[in-house]
């Protein structure tokens, strides 16, 4: 659909029996391994890539080479190695995904807990605002935001973070309400515990695991969102990211030239990493959600 995918199905893990749980865990472990490798590549690989290899002004290889011995994933429109570009792009995509998710989940958690725990006017207004943002087509808003703000990674992070928090807020609010309805919170109140005590000792610890799950899935959708914005030409053009590579591929006519080696790798990288985050999220969820 859009780059902005809500995480409705994140309830999948629940209701799975022992067998399903095991499966989810096994897939989750695989996902975690993939992520670890991707993170390692993102951090370490740039150190080994010679600066000249990705500088369009310095590369001397022929552009549009199909995969072969010299470049095993071929070259792009400027003669750069697609393989190196994908490796270089991992850093940007992961960085944006992580920070945007942290921002989004942070806002969402704060709003969710506040509107769930405190009643009254403020909560009502917060709820209204949350609902309002939920209604707004996130992609439209993010595009508008990235047009308003100066180009750069910060803008992308902000645009994604500011438009994707409502689902987290909803979820956290629902969870807060559930927790607050539990007898142990009533017991804490009866013991004389105030807002700080109830939130700090009961609500937050109970919400956090779900927030963690949500954050993991949020990274997945943030990476897709980043690639979407980059594809629409709204990314940070001075950085290589997977979405930006697809954008470049389209800009320079990879489709009519059938340059599959230019189009395929960045997209596959997105799919693999997003899938890995999703699998890890699901596995975490299966662990976190108490069995009924």
């Amino acid at each position: 659909m859009t780059g902005f995918r809500t995480r409705w199905f994140s309830r999948v893990g629940r209701g799975d029996g022992a067998v399903g749980g095991f499966l989810a865990h096994r897939a989750g472990v695989a996902g975690a391994v993939v992520l670890a490798v991707a993170a390692l590549v993102a951090v370490i690989a740039p150190l080994f890539i010679p600066a000249d290899a990705l500088d369009v002004t310095r590369v001397s290889d022929a552009p549009w080479q199909a995969p072969g011995l010299g470049h095993w994933l071929g070259t792009d429109h400027a003669g750069r190695s697609v393989a190196l570009l994908v490796v270089q792009g991992a850093g940007t995509s992961l960085f944006v995904g992580l920070t945007a998710a942290v921002l989004s989940v942070g806002i969402g958690t704060l709003v969710g807990i506040v509107s769930g725990h405190f009643g009254g006017l403020a909560a009502g207004v917060l709820l209204r605002v949350t609902d309002f943002f939920l209604v707004l087509p996130a992609l439209v808003l993010a595009i508008a935001l990235s047009t308003v703000l100066p180009r750069g990674l910060g803008t992308i992070v902000l645009a994604i973070g500011l438009t994707s928090w409502p689902s987290t807020a909803r979820m956290v609010r629902a969870q807060t309400l559930t927790i607050e309805a539990r007898p142990f919170v009533e017991r804490a109140r009866a013991l004389g515990g105030g807002h700080g005590h109830v939130i700090g000792r009961h609500v937050l610890p109970s919400v956090l695991p779900l927030v963690l799950v949500n954050a993991t899935l949020a990274v997945a959708s943030a990476i897709v969102a980043e690639s979407t914005l980059a594809f629409l030409g709204l990314g940070d053009p001075t950085r290589i990211s997977w979405g930006a590579m697809v954008h470049q591929a389209q800009l320079h006519g990879a489709v009519p030239q059938r340059a599959w080696w230019y189009l395929l790798p960045p997209g596959l990288a997105i799919v693999v990493v997003v899938l890995a985050f999703t699998l890890v999220g699901r596995a975490l969820e299966a662990v976190v959600t108490p069995k009924r």
Partner: protein, 511 residues
């Protein structure tokens, strides 16, 4: 020789390595009524489900299950489907969830009739269970708990089976409603000469309905005999524990509370009223609890007794009236309210949910101390409270998480959490309702011992008149937000003056 309509031979069920039912032998003649008693986890429901082969695929079943002489285990699917509901039907536990929420109940009753091609009409069946015909068009959520259970019964009778299995048919129901549903079931079984296998944790319910009684304990059948004999002379210690857990009102042996001296008032409730929106939940209640006195507040669900308790605790704001504690009006907010809460502690019905699943026993018990900033010497205070709640030695339990404890132990933790603040009044909302029969006696004894040793007064909120008889000095009966009768236990329970109290007492099943 009549062929038994149901015969279980060496029935064993296990899930993986976990054995739930072990070598059970049981036979049921046509028209016979048999009660199967046991605590949660005793395997009684597994036995019931195995009869129609309804256990999950992971269950491993051994032995024979003969339904009218045919072994259910080896039937083809087609044959099994034909047998289901036509030969034996089930009245499920918790009709709330056992009915399809988005289908009209009439349709649900008619479904097996169409399927098995049996005649009869939904109207007739509804009439038999004393429900108006119009209810056929209702959705389950539009019916009360009792009505739903009647629908379940009507459904069970739809295909004219010779055997009805009733699995905890009245568990979630109020005493009065329970009596009505049991009445219907009993009448129909007698009228139609049905075989009945009834499963319950409540001996008194079984005693009222069944001629024969079997008791299960940890997957094994430990006792079987005529109901009266089993109850009167239990041979197995577990059976004895079960019978003891259901106090007989009026029986001095079941009255554990020792007579208390004439007390001075500790808590006084004056003309209290509480509203939920437009409904008045508590309507002009006067109630006094003396120092060291145990008062039972009884009534059906929805009578307002829980709201009253919450208001006394200061967790709800009353619409009018006053609550006076130790001569001082209870403040409604701020530090003073916090200080008051040290004096009055709450014990909730379901200990499993009253404890934060992530907090250790130590954390849970110390929570009150931390809230009130009394954390110095936390260790010894917590240990003392835990041991006082009879979890000894405390060190065994302090680092445990709630789910590692049994229900009774959990309730003791909750009580310890209350005791640590050295309160003067305990408000206990159904403190034993969710506990197994054998455990409830221990908790009742603990509450009495605390009163004896610490002079701790209690307000026990309960629907269970037997519990009131067992523990309380005085009883207040609440009905539709008002206290209709109060007085000493003997006076109210043995010589009730109000019609409602009489109705409540009549509904209590008699062993």
């Amino acid at each position: 020789m009549i062929k038994p309509s149901l015969e279980l031979k060496n029935l064993s069920v296990h899930y993986g390595h976990k054995r739930v039912v072990h070598d059970v032998n049981l036979a049921l003649e046509p028209g016979q009524t048999l009660g199967l008693a046991g605590e949660s986890g005793s395997g009684k429901s597994t036995v019931a489900m195995s009869v129609l082969r309804l256990l999950p695929r992971t269950a491993h079943v051994e032995g024979e299950i003969l339904l009218d002489g045919d072994d259910v285990r080896t039937m083809s699917w087609g044959r099994l489907r034909a047998v289901r509901w036509a030969s034996a039907s089930i009245v499920f536990q918790g009709a709330m969830h056992s009915l399809n929420p988005v289908q009209r109940v009439g349709e649900q009753i008619a479904e097996p009739m169409r399927l098995h091609g049996t005649g009869g009409s939904v109207g007739e069946l509804l009439e038999q269970v004393e429900l108006p015909l119009g209810k056929a068009r209702a959705y389950p959520h539009e019916l009360s708990g009792g009505q739903k259970q009647r629908v379940m019964i009507a459904m069970a009778l739809a295909c004219g089976p010779r055997l009805v299995i009733a699995d905890e048919p009245t568990t979630a129901l109020d005493v009065v409603v329970q009596a009505q549903v049991l009445g219907v079931l009993k009448r129909l079984v007698a009228e139609q000469d049905l075989g009945l296998l009834m499963i319950s944790h409540d001996l008194s319910v079984l005693a009222e309905t069944c001629d024969d009684l079997a008791v299960m304990h940890r997957g094994e059948l430990v006792e079987r005999g005529r109901t009266r004999e089993v109850i009167a002379n239990p041979r197995h210690p577990h059976t004895a524990a079960l019978t003891a857990a259901f106090p007989v009102i009026g029986d001095p042996a079941h009255r554990w509370a020792e007579p208390a001296p004439e007390p001075q008032p500790l808590l006084e409730v004056r003309d209290l009223a509480v509203d939920y929106g437009r409904t008045r939940a508590v309507d002009g209640v006067d109630l006094t609890i003396g120092r060291g006195e145990i008062v039972a507040l009884v009534g059906q669900s929805g009578s307002g007794k829980t709201t009253l308790a919450r208001t006394i605790m200061g967790l709800r704001t009353p619409s009018s009236g006053r609550v006076i504690f130790d001569g001082v009006e209870v403040p409604r907010k701020g530090k003073a309210l916090k200080a008051f809460r040290r004096q009055v502690q709450l014990v909730l019905q379901d200990p499993a949910s009253a404890l934060n699943p992530r907090h250790t026993v130590h954390d849970a018990v110390a929570e009150g101390l931390r809230v009130h900033g009394l954390a110095d010497d936390e260790e010894s205070q917590v240990t003392a409270a835990v041991e006082r709640a009879e979890l000894r030695p405390a060190s065994l339990y302090l680092e445990a998480l709630p789910h590692e404890l049994s229900g009774g132990q959990q309730q003791r933790v909750v009580i310890a959490g209350a005791l640590v603040l050295q309160p003067r009044l305990l408000v206990a909302d159904e403190p034993v309702a969710s506990l197994d029969a054998s455990v409830r006696g221990e908790i009742v004894a603990l509450l009495l011992r605390l009163r004896r040793e610490l002079g701790l007064a209690s307000l026990i909120i309960t629907h269970d008149l037997g519990l009131a008889w067992q523990i309380a000095d005085r009883v207040a009966v609440m009905h539709q937000g008002k206290i209709v009768e109060q007085g000493s236990v003997e006076q109210v329970l043995l010589n009730p003056t109000h019609d409602y109290t009489r109705a409540l007492l009549r509904a209590v099943p008699q062993v």
